[in-house]
């Protein structure tokens, strides 16, 4: 199953996606996409190194579909994480 | 492991004795509850120094009748989030009147030191690697709302003194 690795940045909590062996992006479309389990495991191992180095917390892989070359989350939870709260925000300051 | 008392790393004169280990009469031995409960009169009546180690699921009520026999009680934190030993410590000190050494063992973290002191612990077994920082830890909180048996004066008493 195609997967992407995500975490939260330790210092500010922002959602980040593993974009390369040691680079993280706040944009899902920049995430490294693992097409097989071995690649996913390698990405997770890289993420755990970033956890140990106090860059990120709570790293895990989640399944994505790929559309137009970009990863698209399958589960509702990851859709909300990627897009932000689905509730109206027009009254925000 | 290192032992901390009163903010210093001190030599540990006690030995943890596993149930399958021989007891020799020169040791200052910390034994398990199981060993104590199956012990014969020799162990109960000799006046060698004796300590006992209780797990979180072993309530000190199990030794209340024999408490005078122990110079040390070690209470185990299987995980630092398992808070039973805090209640057991206060029960030993404040209800059963235990005055010997009350040792915190297991996962003992410096961020819990003040709570442990307040509940009556007076010695702390920690990993060698964290011993120096643990020994140097000074409580960051100086205000206490609760009256426990550790002698720190709670806020209410201080308020009354002022008034």
């Amino acid at each position: 199953m195609t997967k992407v690795v995500t975490a939260n940045r330790l210092a500010d909590g922002a959602i980040v996606y593993l974009a390369g062996s040691d680079t993280w992006s706040t944009r899902l479309d920049e995430a490294a996409v693992a097409a097989d389990e071995a690649t996913a495991a390698a990405l997770l191992a890289a993420a755990e190194r970033a956890v140990a180095a106090c860059q990120v917390v709570a790293a895990y892989a989640f399944p994505v579909a790929v559309a137009d070359g970009r990863p698209v989350p399958i589960d509702q939870r990851e859709r909300v994480r990627a897009a932000g709260p689905s509730v109206a925000s027009d009254f925000r300051d | 492991m290192a032992l901390i008392r009163e903010g210093a790393i001190v030599p540990d004169t006690w030995q943890n004795i596993a149930d399958d280990q021989e007891l020799d009469c020169t040791q200052r031995a910390i034994i398990t509850l199981a060993r104590w409960q199956s012990a014969g009169d020799d162990l109960r009546t000799t006046n060698r120094a004796l300590g006992i180690r209780l797990r979180g699921d072993q309530h000190p009520a199990a030794i209340v009748a024999d408490l005078g026999r122990f110079d040390l009680v070690a209470l185990e934190f299987a995980k630092f989030t398992d808070g039973r030993a805090f209640s057991h410590a206060r029960t030993l000190r404040e209800r059963y009147g235990f005055t010997g050494e009350l040792r915190a063992v297991g996962e003992v973290l410096r961020d819990q030191l003040l709570f442990m002191l307040r509940c009556g612990f007076d010695s702390f077994e920690v990993a060698d690697s964290s011993a120096a920082t643990f020994a140097a830890t000074t409580p960051k909180i100086s205000v206490f709302y609760q009256a426990t048996g550790d002698g720190r004066v709670p806020v209410r008493a201080l308020r009354n003194t002022r008034a």
């Binding site: 939260n8 330790l10 210092a11 500010d12 909590g13 922002a14 959602i15 956890v51 106090c54 917390v57 709570a58 399958i74 589960d75 509702q76 939870r77 909300v80 994480r81 932000g84 709260p85 689905s86 509730v87 109206a88 009254f91 925000r92 300051d93 | 979180g56 309530h59 630092f80 989030t81 398992d82 808070g83 039973r84 805090f86 209640s87 057991h88 206060r90 029960t91 209800r95 973290l109 961020d111 819990q112 003040l114 709570f115 442990m116 307040r118 509940c119 960051k140 909180i141 100086s142 205000v143 206490f144 709302y145 609760q146 009256a147 426990t148 806020v155 209410r156 201080l158 308020r159 009354n160």
Partner: protein
């Protein structure tokens, strides 16, 4: 209201610096996330779906204008310009940074506030009746005892690592506005046969996966024994509550397993051992705390205001008065509910600008006081009836005059999967859909008093078990579904809702609610509220309407 003395202030100040040090050690790697998590939770800091979230305690739901302004300042400076009021008299900021958390706590401490024990397996923020001190049915102001409990529970050395979280609510009235019976401990001020005030103590209520109504384990506890008795309950729980299974770790399971009688015997035995000068509440201390909650200086006014009566000729204003004004025990005053449930809004959210506006209005017209209700609304507790028309105009200008308190659009909803790491489904969009469906004000009035409560997972932060209509979000193979319960009640007539049947897909929920409402309107006798009709006719007609007769 309660004001910190030097001791209270020193404690919160020291706590800020303690946490600052812990955060620094986390950022440097000296603390692992496993070691840090319980420490941050004890300071109200979560890692949620999108960011860190800070939950700030509003003890017993009372705020001054100065405190409200600081909350607004925090929302603007450290968050995205809004805050979210919860079902337990807390406010949550959804977008804070770990490396600024201590600064936020310092800002709170500067106005006698904190986030201590708003999370973690410890005694949480103590809640109380949001109409404390102003309700006519009150024996005594429960905030006196809530404040005493707040101090006793704050950094309690023995009870900071309990088997699970622990929630205490206090009320001084017969009408329960605190969901007392679904708390770990519920304390109600009562009088004994001699007319002496004391406490009825209820233990073992709760929501979550295994909802239960609490048991009264002591019908009358003398005031002086409050803390000794609480300490006895907590010690029994700390020693014997289950720690091997997260889902069976709440005190309700211990009470159920032992049986209320055996549990009570253990508490009473422990209590007898703990009673003594160290925990006794002396009269002087009671008086010192009670003085902080003495009634404010009210003006002497006629019972009814002619100005208010005249202004109520305007229908829009009259509608707001009808639903959002409550009688005050002081002649000439009123209690105003500020609904945080505008149509299509996020239940419980308020912007920084709204918080500031409310601070101004409270200062001007409510003796500098605002209350937070567990229903995610705010309350201006001391408004002169003469001032109500002017207040309403200002509220309207700030989008705070939604005339729906207690009606079908006044929905409790947890943050759900839009914000929460634990959620299985979204809650807020369901609330918004229901609000839009029932937006017509005449229809809302025709339906009358009803409480819809929505939770996005089984943890039940949205109190769905005690909603007249409860909605629970569940995950079915990655899709959001919603289970509906009927007949729940969080009041003094507490009851747990009964599941209607199979869960509904997200797109079906509003129609199902509509069906339930139509069934009620068809079955009700004149003037009967939804919950009373349900109690009379039971589940069957609703089930038939929802799923067909088979």
């Amino acid at each position: 209201m309660y004001r910190y003395d030097a001791f209270d202030q020193t404690l919160v100040d020291e706590r800020v610096e303690q946490f600052r040090d812990q955060v620094a050690r986390r950022l440097s790697g000296a603390l692992s996330e496993d070691q840090f998590r319980p420490l941050r939770l004890l300071n109200g800091l979560y890692l949620q779906l999108h960011a860190y979230m800070l939950r700030v305690a509003i003890p017993y739901g009372t705020l001054s204008s100065r405190q409200l302004r600081t909350l607004a300042h925090i929302a603007r400076t450290f968050d995205r310009g809004y805050g979210h009021f919860t079902t337990r008299q807390n406010i949550q900021f959804n977008w804070v940074r770990l490396d600024q958390a201590a600064d936020i706590l310092a800002a709170l401490a500067s106005v006698e506030m904190h986030a201590i024990q708003t999370s973690g397996n410890t005694i949480r923020n103590v809640t109380a009746d949001h109409l404390a001190g102003v309700a006519a049915d009150e024996i005594e102001d429960p905030r006196i005892y809530a404040e005493i409990i707040r101090q006793w529970s704050t950094l309690h050395p023995e009870f900071s690592f309990l088997p699970r979280k622990f929630k205490i609510a206090v009320t001084g009235a017969a009408r329960d506005r605190t969901a007392l019976k679904v708390h770990d401990i519920g304390i109600q001020v009562v009088r004994d046969a001699a007319g002496e005030a004391g406490f009825s103590v209820l233990v073992g209520g709760g929501q979550g996966r295994t909802p239960m109504i609490g048991h009264v384990i002591r019908p009358f506890l003398p005031k002086a024994d409050l803390l000794a008795y609480l300490e006895a309950i907590l010690r029994v729980y700390n020693e014997f509550g289950r720690r091997d299974n997260l889902y069976k770790a709440r005190i309700k399971i211990l009470v159920q397993t032992l049986g209320p009688a055996a549990f009570t015997a253990m508490v009473e035995e422990q209590w007898q051992a703990l009673r003594g000068p160290a925990l006794a509440l002396p009269d002087e201390e009671l008086a010192r705390i009670a003085a902080h909650f003495a009634p404010p200086t009210y003006a002497r006014l006629p019972a009814a205001s002619a100005a208010l009566a005249a202004a109520r000729a305007e229908p829009v204003f009259e509608r707001w008065c009808r639903h959002n004004l409550l009688p005050h025990k002081q002649p000439g005053y009123a209690i105003a509910t500020i609904s945080l449930k505008p149509e299509g809004g996020v239940p419980g959210d308020a912007t920084a600008a709204q918080l500031e506006a409310l601070a101004d209005l409270a200062e001007r017209w409510s003796l500098d006081e605002v209350r937070v209700s567990h229903e995610q609304n705010l309350v201006l507790p001391h408004v002169r009836q003469d001032d109500v028309p002017a207040l309403w105009r200002e509220l309207r200008a700030h989008g705070l005059a939604t005339p729906n308190a207690g009606l079908i659009t006044d929905i409790i909803a947890c943050p759900g999967l839009d914000y929460c790491n634990l959620a299985n489904a979204r809650s807020i969009p369901i609330a918004q859909q229901i609000q839009r469906r029932f937006a017509n004000r005449e229809r809302q009035e025709e339906i009358g008093a009803i409480k819809i409560k929505i939770s996005g997972c089984i943890n039940a932060c949205g109190h769905h078990h005690v909603g007249h209509i409860g909605i629970l979000g569940v995950d079915k193979k990655g899709a959001e579904f919603y289970q509906i319960t009927l007949g729940g009640d969080g009041s003094e007539r507490a009851a747990l809702g009964e599941i209607t049947g199979r869960a509904f897909a997200a797109a079906e929920v509003v129609d199902a609610i509509d069906t339930i409402i139509d069934t009620y309107l068809g079955a009700r006798r004149h003037g009967e509220a939804f919950i009373d009709t349900y109690r009379r006719v039971g589940m069957v007609p609703f089930k038939e309407a929802l799923y067909g007769a088979h």
